[in-house]
């Protein structure tokens, strides 16, 4: 099992797509793209078969150029490896890229070869981010993801796509430059204490002499800012609704499904794993921000009239829950958070897809103009209903165990004084129950009520849409019934984190 092949094969395919022989042959390009994404997904499934749960890191590999390390004189080399967390996210990425390649059929109408090339560059960069075992390799791939995403939004989006894409680019770029400052601080701590240039995540160590706690806190906050933009944490969330609304459907699916996970992944990997002492200091403030995320986004979603915006704000709310789970600092909470990341990746991309189908058929996303669509689109209504239920956290669907574990973890958390996180969790549960209304409102206003005459001729889902929706819905059901099959990969991956926090 070669991790290099998994990570770099998409970018090779994308270079192939940029050759002039593919210009104009859009059916051929789409077929090759789907075929390749399918093969890539199957290949990534092999990794789960050969995965050794007990090992700290699997499939470790290093790329050298003629025997030279990549940035050998700086101690940076292209090393990759998988642990449980990365493995699951890699699978999710590969799966969602396949799904969005299939979903591109209806919504992408021009410049096909460029589109698929960008999608695969995006896939390489996301996979590289999840597999990187070196801080700066992580950063390289993190930055690489910006350019394809910018073009995917701005070239194939609608309405204010250029503005939204630029917003996305600038928000993420500023966050990532803060992150770079933080990373360089870590690198320098390591250099001072061991006098060895190294940026490998596993080798990084520093003591309090070389890295006083206040500097660690500064580094932790700088790194966190980068992830907070991506997650997003609320004062920095402004790019997300805009980018989601104006991006084409498959791109919104990727954005919600994978890119938001990179933020949470980074917090686990860097803030919690590398800087646990600093994280303990800033975590009470994070709980507060998580609370704001959950509550504020839910209430904002409640007043929106654009369906895509509602789903986007519900994503922000879910990410607040992920953050709350991470802040509980014990195994149950963190496992729940990781599980919710995966669950949200699947559910939100499904929801964005059904919204995209509605928009594709009716040409509007305003819920006040829609209504009664269940009469003409019964199958879509059924799938959307399942996905909305999954998003609410109904038992037997995938996000129920996740949310349950997050709240359970928060309630048993022993890190905070005065029942701080317990109170926050309790209030969040109450608000969440109230905020379910926005999903019900979405369902009610689009699918029920009176059918306008305009939508009488609207058709139901066609084959490829049916396949996507049924696959996504069945995944939510299957993993809702057997969440343990995922959790066994998460527990060993976060063991060293929970050891550090003594929970």
């Amino acid at each position: 099992m070669d991790l290099r092949l998994l990570i770099f094969s998409p970018i090779i395919i994308s270079i192939l797509f940029l050759l002039p022989i593919f210009s104009g042959k859009h059916i051929l390009v789409r077929r090759i793209a789907k075929l390749f994404a399918g093969l890539h997904f199957i290949y990534s499934l092999f990794f789960i078969i050969f995965y050794n749960v007990d090992a700290i890191s699997n499939f470790d590999t290093e790329i050298t150029f003629f025997g030279e390390k990549w940035l050998g004189s700086l101690g940076v080399s292209l090393i990759f490896g998988l642990d449980g967390l990365s493995l699951l996210l890699v699978l999710l990425t590969s799966f969602l890229v396949l799904i969005s390649c299939i979903a591109s059929k209806g919504s992408i109408k021009s410049k096909h070869s460029l589109y698929y090339a960008l999608i695969f560059i995006l896939e390489t960069s996301v996979l590289g981010t999840f597999c990187a075992k070196d801080i700066f390799v992580f950063f390289l791939f993190w930055e690489l993801e910006l350019i394809p995403m910018y073009f995917l939004i701005s070239l194939w989006g609608h309405d204010f796509a250029k503005k939204s894409a630029m917003k996305f680019l600038l928000y993420t770029f500023i966050g990532s430059l803060f992150m770079l400052c933080g990373f360089l601080m870590l690198y320098n701590f390591n250099y001072i204490s061991t006098s060895e240039l190294s940026a490998a995540i596993d080798n990084l160590n520093f003591d309090y002499e070389s890295a006083p706690i206040y500097l660690q806190v500064v580094a932790s906050i700088l790194i966190l800012l980068g992830f907070a933009v991506k997650l997003p944490i609320i004062p920095l969330h402004n790019w997300l609704p805009a980018a989601h609304v104006d991006a084409p459907t498959p791109v919104s699916m990727l954005l919600a499904g994978i890119l938001l996970k990179m933020g949470a992944y980074g917090i686990i990997r860097f803030n919690m794993q590398l800087l646990p002492d600093a994280f303990i200091i800033i975590v009470p403030y994070l709980v507060f921000f998580a609370f704001i995320n959950i509550v504020f986004a839910a209430f904002v979603a409640f007043v929106q009239t654009d369906i895509k915006r509602i789903v986007a704000y519900s994503s922000i709310s879910s990410m607040g829950l992920v953050l709350l789970g991470l802040c509980s600092l014990n195994a149950v909470g963190i496992t729940g958070a990781v599980l919710l990341m995966l669950a949200h990746g699947i559910i939100s991309s499904g929801l964005f897809f059904s919204v995209g189908v509605i928009y594709n058929r009716t040409g509007t996303r305003n819920i006040n103009q829609l209504g009664g669509l269940v009469l003409v689109m019964p199958r879509l209504a059924l799938f959307t209903f399942i996905l909305c239920l999954a998003s609410m956290g109904v038992p037997l669907l995938i996000s129920f165990p996740a949310e349950f574990m997050i709240f359970f973890g928060a309630f048993i958390s022993a890190v905070y004084s005065n029942y701080y996180i317990q109170v926050v969790a309790l209030v969040s549960i109450i608000v969440l129950v109230l905020s379910l209304i926005y999903l019900l409102r979405l369902l009610h206003k689009t699918f029920y009520g009176e059918l306008s005459e305009r939508w009488l001729k609207v058709g139901d889902v066609v084959t490829h849409e049916f396949i996507i929706l049924s696959v996504i819905s069945s995944v939510t059901v299957i993993f809702g019934i057997v969440p343990m099959s995922v959790i066994i990969y998460i527990i060993p991956a976060i063991r060293n984190i929970t050891d550090a926090f003594g929970g």
């Binding site: 002039p20 150029f65 030279e68 390390k69 990549w70 940035l71 050998g72 004189s73 700086l74 700066f136 950063f139 390289l140 791939f141 930055e143 690489l144 910006l146 350019i147 910018y150 073009f151 701005s154 070239l155 250029k162 894409a165 630029m166 680019l169 600038l170 770029f173 500023i174 430059l177 803060f178 770079l180 400052c181 360089l184 601080m185 690198y187 320098n188 250099y191 500097l215 500064v218 700088l222």
Partner: protein, 480 residues
């Protein structure tokens, strides 16, 4: 005898350039329009011979010539090679600018060769007299190069350049005279020895601050930055490429030497320079947002990039110097690539306005891709050399101490602003356009197109495999 020895050991490249300069200036009296190709080949062969002659210079140990007023070591040879290589590219780029005014072809190349020669002298100078004279020579050839283009704008730009350069030179000479007053020496080594033995005084601080600030003019750092927009817009594009690279390389090299030998004893100087460079970065990047012409954007970007380099350069250490060198090399190639693209555009129907770029990605995909690689490299996006350079530069700032983290954060913000306007250029190329008249680019600027492809390829290759260049920069910095 010692004269010949000195020249052959340390100034061979300058001598070769001097010969081609003389040939060109003699020919310019006799030959007319028809021979403009000849002038180009004389200039190119002069530069090429100079490049070859660098191989015969004495490197180890450091060679001092002409009573220690000229120095030749690994660092100078490396910087000279960079200058000569980029001037070769600039000569190849300037074909179109020259043929538009072909009765003055010989003069253009004469001035260009003079500029290159004096910038080589700036690099190898080891006392203040040589430095001052060669800097003035560089400035003089630049005045006329700027004014070379037809029209009012170029004359205005040249005049602005003259006035601000005169002012900055006055400040620089003021500092030098103070230093001479304290130590009684003009040679760098002698002054260094003097301040090893004697405690620096307040006047010393004043002197070094004046010297450093006076030298900042060519880098377009803030007190003397306002010329850059008009000069870039007013002068011919290949002259802008010249101003953007060659004086900058020379001044950065000489600043590196001065920081090590003379200016290093002052505590206040790095603080002042750091503040000035941060201010310049903010000023230039914010100014660039509203610009509608590509050349003006590049002017702002060159000022900002010089500010990043100066920031790191003023915090003297071997590691920092190697990062600056790496940044300088990658920046030169990206910048020349962008200028090559601009020259191609200038000679087609696309023009130099931002809005003129519309639809370029669909009509000329390969050209647009290479241009985009250069621009993304300037913005510092990954898999270009600009990413590695920015990352390396930042690591130097962090290494210099936790005090500089706030400054680093401000610089990071300015880089985000820069990312906005760079991305805007690329985004414009992907916009749909209605007009049908500007479709395919002319083939008459083959050399510029080839240079663009080569520069973007270098940017990509260094971005993916930077280790060889990194090692080289470390070696060179260690040898200063």
């Amino acid at each position: 005898m010692s004269l010949i020895l000195d020249i052959s050991n340390s100034m061979l490249a300058e001598a070769v350039l001097l010969i081609s300069f003389l040939i060109l200036s003699v020919f310019s009296m006799f030959y007319n329009v028809r021979y403009h190709k000849l002038s180009k080949w004389i200039a190119v062969s002069g530069i090429a011979f100079a490049l070859v002659s660098l191989k015969f210079l004495r490197l180890e140990p450091v060679y001092y010539a002409f009573n220690e007023s000229i120095i030749s070591d690994t660092f100078t040879v490396f910087v000279k090679a960079l200058i000569l290589f980029s001037s070769l590219i600039i000569i190849l780029l300037s074909k179109k600018n020259v043929t538009k005014r072909n009765h003055k072809t010989f003069q253009f190349y004469t001035l260009l060769i003079a500029g290159v020669m004096s910038s080589l002298l700036v690099v190898s100078s080891n006392d203040f007299v040589t430095l001052t004279v060669s800097l003035e020579m560089l400035s003089f050839s630049t005045y006329f190069l700027i004014a070379y283009k037809k029209g009012y704008l170029s004359k205005e730009a040249s005049f602005k350049y003259i006035i601000s350069n005169a002012f900055s030179t006055a400040i620089y000479l003021f500092g030098v005279s103070y230093l001479y007053g304290i130590s009684g020496k003009l040679n760098f080594n002698a002054i260094n020895d003097y301040f090893m033995q004697n405690e620096p005084t307040l006047i010393y601080t004043f002197a070094v601050v004046f010297i450093a600030i006076g030298l900042l003019f060519k880098l377009a750092i803030l007190p003397f930055a306002n010329w850059i927009l008009d000069v870039y817009e007013g002068s011919a594009t290949s002259v802008s490429a010249f101003i953007a690279t060659i004086p900058k390389i020379a001044v950065i090299a000489v600043l590196a030497r001065l920081f090590v030998f003379i200016l290093g004893n002052s505590f206040e100087l790095p603080v002042i320079l750091v503040i000035l460079s941060v201010m310049t970065a903010i000023w230039a990047n914010i100014l660039a947002i509203r610009q509608k012409k590509i050349l003006r954007i590049l002017a702002c970007s060159s000022s900002a990039n010089a500010a990043y380099m100066l920031f790191v350069l003023s915090l003297v250490s071997v590691y920092n110097l190697s990062t600056v060198l790496f940044y300088l090399i990658t920046y030169v190639f990206m910048n020349l690539g962008a200028f090559a693209a601009i020259i191609v555009l200038e000679n087609s129907n696309y023009g130099l306005k931002l809005n003129g770029l519309k639809g370029l990605a669909y009509t000329n995909p390969l050209f647009a891709l290479s241009f985009a690689i250069c621009i993304f490299g300037l913005a510092g996006f990954p898999i270009t050399s600009g990413f590695i350079a920015k990352f390396y530069l930042f690591s130097a700032i962090i290494r210099s101490g936790a005090v500089f983290i706030p400054f680093l954060i401000i610089l990071a913000m300015t880089i985000v602003v820069a990312a906005y306007y760079y991305t805007n250029i690329v985004a414009k190329m992907f916009e749909k356009t209605d007009s049908q008249d500007n479709q395919i680019i002319y083939n008459s600027t083959t050399s510029a197109t080839v240079i663009l492809y080569a520069c973007s390829l270098i940017t990509l290759v260094v971005g993916i495999m930077p280790f060889a260049l990194l090692e080289l920069c470390k070696f060179i910095a260690y040898n200063l």
